[in-house]
Structure formats: structure tokens, C-alpha cells
Subunit: 228 residues, 2 copies
DNA sequence: GTAAAAAGTTGCTACACATCAATGTTGTGA
DNA sequence: TCACAACATTGATGTGTAGCAACTTTTTAC
């Protein structure tokens, strides 16, 4: 990781109004937000480490995941600009309860936790936005909980494909994750992720060419996801 | 459910300062908090229904659970006084993402969402408390996610027993849930919940007499939970 | 451009777990 | 107190899924 510029961060300005507000407040330089660049695979934040900044993803794709005691991971989310990264940890807990690492080269915006707290009181709209983002994260974790414990292979993969299709806002998309990671996103093994993808291709539900996936029969995917 | 008194609610006053604040603010009667009584098994809030009140559990035990499309449940938490019930939904989402129902007769305190929003701005300490409770809920859901997807029977049950022991703050406790619900709490079938309990008893890890469980070897439980 | 590493694919096997069934036990309401 | 329902327990069985191994394809790095 390297710091690319001290302040500015126009790319996430539209979202959170942090920068306008920070200017209004006339904050000293050391409290101003910073942009940081990460290489592919680099870890942006680590489970159990202390939260010192709120982080917003400005460019690139990242995965949010938790790792179990046996070394296997579960991917909770794929993060896109301009998602919050530090969000779930900022106010609730002093340390991260998950990892985030870069799937592609990424640029993030780091905002000191002290400044966030000032803004917290200064701008109520920002606060409500933060809480809403928080809430929808919880809802999506709940969904994953159900999916992992009750659905079987095909239902889990179907759900992941629907998720990815919504994430990329298109029926055709290029995966930024490997088959192993698709397995971790679905809570299944790499091998079974491959097997189910092949099945879906053979059944005409999806088109499959390496990392490029095209959803051909979304209705069927929805159905598969629902029945498990 | 029945409304037992219009305001007051001394039992949760120590926790959130809502009532002191509401008096300071001189709120009209219709906005004052209300106490509500529920019978055993009665549902306190329902998945997908609209959130109109923040709810605090004042007396009794309740289970927070989500239900899947196949009718099977996952119990997220056992709630004790004075846990928040509506918490995860209050600011994040307009509707509940889970169910809560009474395991024993319960008394709750309902606070109109409008009043919560007023308090939100009026008392910053309350706000921070709320966010911290929110955060620890998220952390516990993450833990469950890992447990469900990576541990096997004995590890899951061990984790549930540790959870219950901490919940009741004692090595010996009387379950307010059935074996089926212990299964739902652990993400396994009722039959296997029974089998593992019997195993643990035969191995001298726990004492077992119907609903009364005594943890005899907490260290072993911790170990079992960790290795999965 | 070539070698090495990473990612992807397929078949086979073992087993952990859910499910079914039968039966015993406890609790509850008339 | 009796009858019925809910809860608890144990054994037998089928199957969904992880893990292993062998192999091919793609990507990465020098």
C-alpha cells in the first residue's frame, strides 16, 4: 500500500459529503482524508486488528471475508466503488471482525476515526446514511446465514450468480474472483463450484467461457435459489 | 399480547435513559413508551413486518430466529432482559429481518420509532450505546456464520453450550429451549443435538438431567468448539 | 518465449449428517 | 387421574458433499 495524495478524494465525495464538511470545519491537515493505493491480492484490513480509520473503496474490487480456525474462508461480499470497507466495525467494535483484500488494484480513501466522530455529530444526514448502510449489511449477512445452512450446492451457486449479476448490474459479467473464491462465496468446495457451473452450462441456464459468465435463464436461477 | 401500563417501564430505565430523557422533553402521552406482556410461544416480532417501535425486553426469555424457505429455522440469539429486540432493524431497514418469540412469559417495552429518532439527536450517549449494541450483534452473527459453515456436530454443540453458559452466567443452567431449538441454535437436526448431548454426558464433559445442564469440563468444550 | 506456478476440471471414494421410524418420557388440560 | 400431545431418545439408512488424485489449461514471471 502507498499513499497517493493527502486529501481530495473526489471519487467518493458525492457519497458521503465528508470532504465538503471537513472543509467547512476547517480541519488541520493531519485529520484530512487520505487516498491509498493497493496492489492486487493486498490486504486492506485484517480481522482482529484495531480500527483506526473509516475506509471507502474508490477504485477496484475487493472481497470482504472471514477466516475460520481451520484456515477456510467465507466471502461475505464483493465490494465495489464506493462501498464502505470499515463500516461494520467503525462504531460497533474497536477491531475488525473480518478481512478485506484487493481482488484488483484498488484505491481507497482513509478517514481518521476521530474525524468520523466529529462528523457524526456535525452532520445528521451522514449519520443516518451510515446506519442504513450498516443495516443493509446485516440483512445480507442474515441472507447468507440462511443460504449456507439450508440450501444445497445448486441453490447456493444460483444465489451467488444472482448476487454477482446484481453486483455488476448485467446478465453478462467477467468474474474478478477465482473458482475457489466462488466456492468461498457460496460456502462450498472449489470442486463442487466448478461442477455446478458446468451443470448449469449444460442445462442452458448460463453461458460459461472461463471468467466470463452470462446468465441466460434468470428465472430458473431465481427458482433454484428459492427451492435450495 | 396485552398492554400492561402506559408509561414508566422502570426495569429498562437504567439501560437507555430513554425515560428520563422523554420526561425532560415533555413528550405528549401518545409518544410515551408502553409496556407489553406476551405469553409463552407468542410472537413478539415477525420477519418482513414493518418496524414501528423499538422494543426492549424487560422480563422473560425470547428467541431471535430467521426462517428459511423450507420452514426450518436458525436461532440467532437467546434474548434476556434488558436486550434490544428491534435493534438491528431500527435504523437500517424499514422491516424486520428476523423473528422474535417468547420462550417464557415476557414483558417488553415499546418505544415509538418517532420518539427514538428524536432521542437520536437529543442524546448522543444513547446513540453511541445503540451503535455498540448493533456492532456486537453483527460480531455474533459473524461467529455463527463461521460455526455453521465450518464446524461439525460436536463443535457446533460445544459452541452452543459455551454460549448458553455465558448467557446464564453459570456452569449449571436450566434450558428454556427444547432439543429441537438447541438444534436450531446449533444449525443441526434435533436428533443429532440429542446424540451429541448424550455423547458429552458419557464422556463426562457435561452433566445432563432433562432440561438441566451442568458444564463439568469447560476447557474441553472450548477445545471442541475451537477445533470444530 | 519458455518454464514454473496458479487456476480450472473431472472422476472416485469416504463419511458426516439429515431423515425416517419406532419407542420411551414428560407435560398438559379436561 | 386419565388421555393425548409434545418432547426426547436411539438405531438404521440413504445421500449430499468434501477431499483426494490426476490431469489440462491459463497465467505469471524471468
Amino acid at each position: 500500500m502507498r499513499i497517493v495524495e493527502k486529501a481530495g478524494c473526489e471519487s467518493c465525495q458525492h457519497k458521503c459529503d465528508i470532504f465538503l464538511t471537513s472543509k467547512e470545519m476547517g480541519l488541520e491537515d493531519s485529520l484530512q482524508p487520505r487516498k491509498v493505493a493497493y496492489k492486487k491480492y493486498e490486504q486492506i484490513c485484517r480481522q482482529n486488528s484495531i480500527v483506526t480509520h473509516a475506509i471507502i473503496l474508490c477504485e477496484g474490487n475487493a472481497k470482504m471475508y472471514i477466516e475460520g480456525s481451520n484456515g477456510k474462508n467465507i466471502i461475505l461480499n464483493i465490494l465495489m466503488p464506493s462501498n464502505y470497507i470499515g463500516l461494520l466495525a467503525v462504531f460497533g467494535s474497536p477491531s475488525y471482525s473480518y478481512n478485506v483484500s484487493a481482488l484488483t488494484p484498488c484505491v481507497t480513501c482513509h478517514i481518521g476515526i476521530e474525524m468520523i466522530k466529529k462528523l457524526y455529530y456535525h452532520n445528521h444526514n451522514y449519520l443516518i446514511q451510515l446506519n442504513q448502510a450498516f443495516g443493509s449489511s446485516v440483512a445480507s449477512i442474515m441472507k447468507k446465514l440462511l443460504s449456507l445452512s439450508q440450501k444445497q450446492l445448486r441453490g447456493k451457486v444460483a444465489e451467488s450468480l444472482i448476487y454477482l449479476s446484481q453486483l455488476y448490474e448485467s446478465h453478462a459479467f467477467t468474474l474478478t474472483i477465482t473458482r475457489k473464491e466462488l466456492g468461498e462465496l457460496s460456502g462450498i468446495s472449489e470442486e463442487n463450484a466448478v461442477r455446478v457451473l458446468t451443470e448449469f452450462k449444460n442445462e442452458g441456464i448460463i453461458g460459461l467461457h472461463g471468467k466470463v459468465i452470462e446468465v441466460l435463464d434468470m428465472e430458473m436461477l431465481q427458482k433454484l435459489s428459492l427451492i435450495g
